[in-house]
Every structure is written in structure tokens, then in C-alpha cells.
Symmetry: C2
Subunit: 229 residues, 2 copies
DNA sequence: CGGTGCTTTGAAGCCTATCAACAAAAGTGG
DNA sequence: CCACTTTTGTTGATAGGCTTCAAAGCACCG
């Protein structure tokens, strides 16, 4: 639960989050990539990613997969205003992730009793919805190199919200998953990342990466931050 | 206000919407295409499109324009969960549109007093957010012909929510605007629409269009409806 | 050790953008 | 209402971007 606390404290550093303890159910570790299929019923538990990585996806009739959002440490997976848009949300947790499970009904009670806590959850959800909208905008109208740069900036932010990952960030997605996120093929993702590297915007070492002049990149792509702190 | 009433009655046909009268400010007619620039302050009036057409857009540093959402008769423009995602929303009203203006504070009071009315506004906003997510998903991962078919299906739904536009629907967007919506160039939009016509999926007469087998198209694109009625 | 999935590279071809020219339509001002 | 200007839509030629198909290297794991 520590990562969720750190994420929410970005909006209000001193906020008391102990009421969340009443809704705590369990801490699960996921040994391998594991999809969680969600249907439309309302009483799903609320999942918070403690460590690792996860993403939400939808499948097209022809078998293609689209990744709609991604979750780093401390993320509320499929909750709040960001999740409203995704009906029948499917979640995939990458191998090694740890997840805190909250009881939905008791969490709702806790939020209802403490309006300042509810506000934090709302702010977090709204910030996520804005980031998703910003990402989608670029993924619709930019060429491949910019699409990937945008996604990497966003990934960098997601990974930095609850923990300090250091200079070299993990790249928890395969090239195929980056393709499903950007609408590109894995082959073209590979070529485009290579081009970003020769242009000095990106360094890669195995499953880690480091970005070049992020400030310049952010202003070129009009990338905005919606979290404070 | 009649079109808003018809739209909200899709969720609850008998709902009493008279409390909205207290928040009514004025009815404006817009003679020509008119952008409404919104900044971050909170007390903007709430705009409901009475007739005509509008869309929200953002501008990139290089001058490119991205259209993020579109509004037909009865639409709440830039309000609720669908609008949270779009910070610094800009609205463009097409020539000839009529807009009902509501006072934001008094509208909030009216909704707070009548929870069933607030629920209707929330349902409308959620349905719009889902439609936007569905559209964005396709605009990221589908080829041009499917992108345009998807946008036309969505446009058809938007135009049918508050009024019955008949078999031949108005096409209130220029090809450039369709391009800004889909991430394609106007030239390619022109060519792709022509191809859709020769394939029998689309007919055009001036600024009106009619779609072929919409049921088949919807199932091929996995298009879903989020409004009831 | 083989198997499996991930990544890279090459070659070929389709898809989409760009540039340019023109036709058609719509707005503007007399 | 007409002449004028501006915008919108269409078409062709060309170039570049992206996908597809195929093959091979690599890392990881049983």
C-alpha cells in the first residue's frame, strides 16, 4: 500500500490515508504474465499495483489487441473517471508484479466517510484521464517516431509517480506491446527505436532505457504534466 | 432546451427536467464558424447545442489541429466526465448553430438538489466518454477506410440522439475537419471516401450522406452503442 | 540441450503524405 | 444580382512511411 500512498501524497502531502486499511483484503504476487478478465458486474475488487507493471487492453474481432492504458507502481488499475471510458476492461499484469486487493464496497464506504480522501482518488483518476487523452491525441495524429517518444515520456512519468526509478528506467513492455499501444507493428517499433537511438534521443541497455533531452522533447511534443509535486 | 431533454430522456424517459429552467441564461445563434476559447478558470457557462454542430479541438505547436470530440443537437459541450480529460478545451461551433447557455453555478445547485437529475448528466457524460474511447481506439489502430467508417458510424449516432435526422444525414464537417479528427490528410480523406462509395458502403449527395449496411459495418468494427432507447 | 518467445534485419509492396493544378462551391462586397 | 475572392473538394504524379513476409540471432527456461 506504500506506493499508493506516495502517489496520492503528490496531491496532498500530509493527507491521512489510514482509513484505507479497513478495505484491505490481501496482497497478491503474480508469478507470470496474468490477464484479469473483467465483466460488467459492479462488485469487482479494486486493484492497486504495488510493484511491477500492468496494462489494460481490448481485443478486436480479428484478434488484434489494443492497449489502452498502462499502470506503474501505486496505480489504481481500472478505477475512477479514467476507467469509466473502458467498458469490459481487461487487465494484464506483467510477471513479478505485486497487487494489493481492496474490497470495493468497504473502499467506497471509506471514501464516502472521508471526503478529502475521496477527493484524492478523484484527482488521481482525473490526472490519469488527462494523460490518456494527451497520449491518444498524439497516437492519432503524429508519425511513428513522435508516437514512440510520446509513449516513452508518458511511461517515464508513470514509473516516477510513486518511486524514484533512477536514471535508467525499466522498459516493462515488449516491442509487440509497444506496437499494440501505438498502433504500429513490432517490426516498425524496432526500427523506429533504433532511429531514436542514432538521433541521440534514447539509449537502451537490455530491458532498460534512458531518454536524452526530455525537456526539449516535452516542449516539441507539447507534453504536459498533470500530477503535482 | 428541447434537444437536451430528448437526449437525457434516453436514459429515463419520464424524468422531470424543469429544474434546469432556473439555470437558463440565454439562447444564442452563431452566424458563422465561431471558436470559443476556454481557459482554465472554472466558472464557464455550460453550453448545450440546440441545433447545428460543434467540435472540440486542440492545436499543436506546429499549427496542426486535432479534433478530439464532436457535438450534435442536445449535446452538453465540454461538461462532465468526458470533458475532464480535455484541459484547456477549445470549442468550434459551425455556422448556423444555436446554443443554450446555462449558468454554471446555478446548474450545479439544481443538480445537487435533484440527485436523479445529476445521475442523468453523469450517464450522458459517461456514455460520451465511452464513445470517445471507442473512437480513439480505432483511430489509433485501424487503416484509413475503417477509421472513416468508424467516425461516420459515430457521427450518425451523435446526430440521432436528440432528433431523427432521417435517412440522409447531414455531413457537417469539411474533409479537412474529418482529417483533423482521424489524423489523415484532407486529400486522403477524399480518396478514401470515394473508395467507400465504390464499395457500396457510403452514398453522398452534396453535404449529406447515407450509409450502406450499418449493422454489418458495426459488427465488423465491433462498434458498440452506449445510449439506450 | 532443445524449445520458445523476443528482437533484429532485409526485401518487397501497399498505404499515406506531399506537391501542384484545377474545378466547384461558398462567402464577400459592390 | 453579379463579379470577386476565398475556401473546399478532386485528381495525378511522386516520394516516403509503414506493413508484410521471411529468416536468423539472441536470451531465457525447462
Amino acid at each position: 500500500m506504500a506506493t499508493l500512498v506516495r502517489r496520492l501524497h503528490r496531491f496532498s502531502p500530509g493527507a491521512d490515508l489510514t482509513p484505507l486499511n479497513h478495505a484491505f483484503q490481501q496482497l497478491r504476487s503474480l508469478d507470470r504474465d496474468e490477464p484479469v478478465w473483467r465483466h460488467k458486474s459492479e462488485d469487482h475488487p479494486v486493484l492497486v499495483l504495488e510493484s511491477g507493471f500492468a496494462y489494460s487492453f481490448t481485443l478486436y474481432p480479428d484478434g488484434r489487441r489494443h492497449i489502452g492504458d498502462m499502470f506503474g507502481p501505486g496505480a489504481l488499475c481500472g478505477f475512477g473517471s479514467a476507467a469509466v471510458a473502458e467498458e469490459g476492461l481487461n487487465l494484464a499484469f506483467k510477471s513479478g508484479s505485486r497487487v494489493t486487493v481492496f474490497d470495493a464496497a468497504r473502499l467506497a464506504d471509506a471514501l464516502h466517510e472521508k471526503p478529502e480522501l475521496e477527493l484524492l482518488f478523484k484527482q488521481d483518476g482525473d490526472a490519469r484521464a488527462r494523460r490518456t487523452a494527451q497520449r491518444n491525441r498524439g497516437l492519432i495524429s503524429l508519425p511513428a517516431a513522435e508516437k514512440l517518444a510520446l509513449v516513452l515520456l508518458d511511461l517515464r512519468e508513470e514509473l516516477s509517480l510513486a518511486t524514484d526509478p533512477g536514471e535508467w528506467l525499466p522498459l516493462p513492455l515488449t516491442l509487440r506491446e509497444l506496437g499494440d499501444l501505438t498502433g504500429l507493428t513490432d517490426v516498425h517499433v524496432s526500427r523506429t527505436l533504433k532511429k531514436l537511438q542514432t538521433d541521440g534521443m534514447l539509449e537502451r541497455r537490455g530491458k532498460r532505457f534512458r531518454m536524452g533531452d526530455t525537456a526539449a522533447l516535452e516542449s516539441a511534443l507539447d507534453y504536459r504534466h498533470f500530477y503535482y509535486g
